[in-house]
């Protein structure tokens, strides 16, 4: 198929899709016996599917229009930016909503709706709010909207929502408008050294009046943000379409329209990509990578994600109460081979809980080498020779989780003095055991993954390795002390060093088998210029036509 033919085919198909989307509402109304709603001009920026123009002739994309389609595994669980925790919903929402701060591609904190930010005192930081920003309904952004947005997340009495994101803004207690300035103060109960990082990752800004005037269902099916795209049509579970917001405060997006859809099956997503029906598809499995690479019109975009995969070993049960045994488990596995053969190279080996590029990462630590003799010797030293252990693993929760677990168990089982098997677990059941808050409820040995989009070690080390951490299977006074100090330390360099020391201690004490950093593997069309991000987000604003 020539380029022109391909373009023609895509245009025609998109035309047909638009025609279908436009008519879908009337069809549904017809089927349910309801009268098709009359299109009305929206006060908010977001139209719902019921407001789509039925005149398909006017919807036909022109040659000049640059439309992009993105296919995820699932769509959103509603469009309220404060009422979800999943990445898939985040990606849908982030095209329309944005925060006071943001992150660049490298994970650094940058200004967005705030023009500047500073720490006023321990527990109080100030954000200076940009002028000339409008919501998609045309109203101007005010500091009161920013304060309301943060309060809606952390305080269930504000904005009619008990937000599941409240603990993502860990430590933040409230926000208030600063008298006489176009600024907002965000208040925390303690120093909260990571607060700017948290605000750069979480905390989408909504318009107070728009939220307060609407029921939950409407907030979840329409939108009114300040982002580069505004909602065009929303068909729950089927598709979401956007158009470029022409009055965006920054440079307008290069993309004119976005269509988000979903396909549960990875092969279906890849088929869509290689057929030119979509431009970006998420989670291309290793076995499909070569198919995408071999097509002239598509490519693989792989990037290290913010998710670490590890095997936790409970410090309070035999044989994992032995330091020698825990170290032996790390020596027993050929991590490079697992990454190459199980994950097709789409992973990085880790030496510590914190990932490279994060604040607190310790670059002096080495990955445990594959050394069977050393492992067997340490097992003998531990006094647990002949131990039989069982590795619990979720099924299908992480990229090739069962295969990784089987490989790890296989290596351990090859030791002459330990036998190991895999126990596949249903994720909710396993998660239920991990999250009771009591270490005694956790399996002695399990595989799990942890995503940390704040690029700060504390958000991994505290929940996963401190004594009172929500997911911890380990207790070490020195480690707890280091992390306590780091949370009270306002000097960034000193804090970074404290967390590096904590990582070194974790490497030495081996509470985990340190496995891999998961990669985000996308398939992308060569008609777009786009690079995958480490934080698993897909920002259509960053997409441009390929040269």
């Amino acid at each position: 198929m020539t380029d022109s033919q391909e373009q023609s085919s895509v245009t025609r198909r998109k035309y047909l899709t638009l025609a279908g989307g436009a008519a879908a509402t009337a069809g549904l109304a017809g089927c349910t016996g309801e009268e098709a709603p009359t299109p009305e001009p929206t006060e908010g920026g977001g139209d719902t599917e019921t407001e789509t123009d039925m005149d398909t002739e006017t919807e036909t994309p022109t040659d000049e229009e640059f439309g992009v389609t993105i296919t995820q595994g699932n769509l959103d669980s509603g469009l309220d930016p404060h009422d979800h925790r999943e990445t898939t919903t985040d990606i849908i929402v982030m095209q329309m909503y944005e925060g006071a701060l943001d992150r660049n591609r490298e994970g650094g904190v940058v200004e967005a709706l705030a023009t500047d930010y500073e720490r006023i005192e321990d527990g109080r930081v100030r954000l200076f709010i940009r002028e000339g920003v409008t919501f998609h309904n045309g109203d101007e952004l005010t500091p009161a909207d920013v304060a309301f947005s943060y309060n809606r997340i952390v305080n269930e009495d504000v904005g009619g929502l008990a937000s599941p994101q409240s603990d993502q803004l860990a430590g933040v207690e409230s926000a208030e408008v600063v008298d006489g300035e176009r600024a907002v103060d965000v208040l925390s109960g303690s120093v909260n050294p990571t607060v700017f990082g948290l605000l750069a990752t979480y905390g989408d800004i909504v318009q107070q009046s728009w939220i307060e005037e609407r029921e939950t269902a409407e907030i979840n099916s329409s939108a009114n943000g300040t982002g580069p795209f505004q909602l065009d049509t929303y068909t729950a579970d089927e598709s979401v379409t956007y158009t470029k917001y022409e009055d965006y405060w920054d440079e307008p997006a290069a993309v004119d329209t976005i269509t988000m859809n979903a396909a549960t099956e990875s092969s279906t997503r890849v088929n869509q990509l290689v057929s030119g029906e979509t431009d970006i598809t998420v989670n291309v499995p290793p076995q499909e990578v070569s198919r995408v690479r071999n097509e002239e019109s598509t490519r693989i975009e792989a990037v290290p994600s913010t998710r670490v995969i590890y095997n936790a070993m409970r410090y309070d049960v035999e044989p994992f109460d032995s330091l020698e045994f825990r170290r032996a488990m790390n020596y027993a596995i050929d991590l490079e081979s697992i990454i190459e053969n199980v994950l097709s190279g789409f992973a990085d080996a880790t030496s510590q809980p914190t990932l490279q590029g994060f604040v607190g990462y310790n670059s002096d630590l080495d990955i445990y080498p594959y050394d069977v003799e050393q492992a067997e010797s340490l097992v003998e030293e531990s006094g647990y020779a002949g131990a039989e252990i069982e590795l619990h693993t979720p099924v299908g929760r992480y990229l090739r989780d069962v295969e990784i677990a089987q490989a790890v168990a296989g290596y351990i089982d090859e030791l002459s003095n330990v036998s190991c098997s895999v126990r596949q677990r249903d994720f909710p059941t396993l998660a239920g055991e991990l999250t009771t808050g009591s270490i005694e409820d956790k399996p002695p040995f399990y595989l799990i993954g942890w995503g940390n989009a704040t690029f700060d070690a504390s958000q991994t080390l505290i929940p996963l390795l401190t004594t009172n951490g929500a997911l911890s299977s380990w207790s070490n006074d020195e480690f707890d002390s280091l992390m306590d100090q780091s949370q009270d330390e306002s000097d960034p360099d000193a804090r970074d060093q404290l967390m590096q020391d904590a990582n070194a201690l974790a490497n030495d004490q081996a509470p985990w088998i340190f496995l891999n950093r998961q990669y985000s593997v996308y398939g992308a069309s060569n008609r777009i210029d786009w690079q995958a991000r480490r934080d698993e987000s897909i920002k259509a604003y960053e997409i441009e036509p390929a040269n």
């Binding site: 279908g20 549904l28 398909t56 979840n220 239920g432």
Partner: protein, 328 residues
């Protein structure tokens, strides 16, 4: 027993069956492992947040209270709210139902259009190449798994030759007809373009089954004495075959078609997943993956109810087509 009384009786039986389905599906939630809160809440959520989520979902109430609330809600069409999205289950399930019915109907049409002629040809040309070809086709159709066939059709016809879209649904049938009525045929073309491969995938097994049924039915009828009598009377062969033998053959075929249609409504899960078809099947898969029990319950109840309804309609039709049927 009169026809009306018969249908009333079947209707009452159907209500009990649906009630049984509702009860079993409701109780399944409590005997399957896995706490929905564990799946919804973030891994590091505090116990307070977990309790709050459980309270918001009503999971902290006694089981019988939850059951009677749920059944009471069903009487007014309220199937509760999705754990994950917080949206109305009824709205989501009924929004998906047309896509599934369309797909099941299209698969049935594929089956009828292909299987009956194939079965007739196969029977009337017994032992000839056409019969062998039809037999091989039906054997292949019955033996071919849906998911494999779907993937192959996509790889060959969509990816390789670009004849059809790989997946999704561009437009519903009713909106497509409305556009056609307004003078725009593109909607119907889009509908056909997107539904063809899923319908073939879903309908192939069905086609093969009905082909075999038609063939054996025709052979059976053609051997009966009334056919010999008709031939002896000098009736044209086409009249003997298509007016007399085929008509009698179709009675069991109609029954199977009806029952299979009910099966297709609940059995399109794999086909819908392969083609990202936005019907009940994909909703069931997504809701099971998310442990979204209200949504799972809603889907299963609608599928179960559809099956019961189709069975009642088939019973009524069967009696209508075959006057010899006695209501009892």
């Amino acid at each position: 027993m009169s026809r009306a009384r018969f249908l009333l009786k079947r209707g009452l039986q159907g209500i009990f069956v649906v009630w049984g389905v509702v009860t079993v599906v409701f109780l399944l939630r409590f005997i399957t492992p896995g706490d929905p809160v564990a799946l919804i809440a973030p891994l590091d959520a505090s116990p307070e947040l977990r309790q709050q989520i459980a309270a918001n979902l009503g999971l902290d109430r006694p089981l019988y209270v939850q059951y009677f609330d749920y059944v009471g809600g069903l009487f007014v069409g309220d199937m509760g709210y999705s754990y994950v999205a917080g949206t109305s289950v009824s709205n989501r399930v009924f929004a998906r139902l047309p896509a599934t019915i369309e797909l099941a109907a299209a698969a049935t049409v594929v089956a009828i259009v292909l299987s009956i002629p194939l079965g007739v040809i196969s029977a009337t040309r017994r032992g000839e190449p056409a019969d062998y070809a039809a037999t091989v086709f039906s054997l292949g159709g019955i033996s071919t798994p849906n998911f494999w066939l779907g993937i192959m059709l996509v790889l060959v016809l969509s990816v390789q030759f670009g004849l059809f879209p790989t997946s999704r649904r561009a437009i519903g049938f009713v909106p497509a007809l409305e556009l056609l009525a307004a003078g725009n045929p593109l909607g119907l073309l889009a509908w056909l373009e997107y539904i063809t491969l899923p319908a073939i995938t879903l309908g192939t097994y069905f086609t093969a089954l009905v082909t075999r049924l038609t063939r054996s039915g025709m052979l059976d009828e053609l051997g009966k004495t009334y056919v010999r009598a008709a031939r002896a009377k000098g009736l044209p062969e086409t009249l003997v075959r298509y007016k007399h033998a085929l008509r009698n053959t179709l009675i069991p075929v109609i029954t199977v078609l009806g029952l299979q249609f009910g099966t297709l409504i609940g059995g399109a899960v794999i086909t819908e997943a392969v083609f990202a078809w936005p019907g009940l099947g994909t909703l069931v898969i997504n809701s099971i993956n998310a442990r979204d029990w209200p949504l799972i319950q809603g889907c299963l109840i609608v599928i179960g109810t559809s099956f019961v309804l189709v069975n009642i309609v088939v019973d009524a039709l069967y009696a209508y087509v075959n006057p010899q049927v006695v209501y009892d």
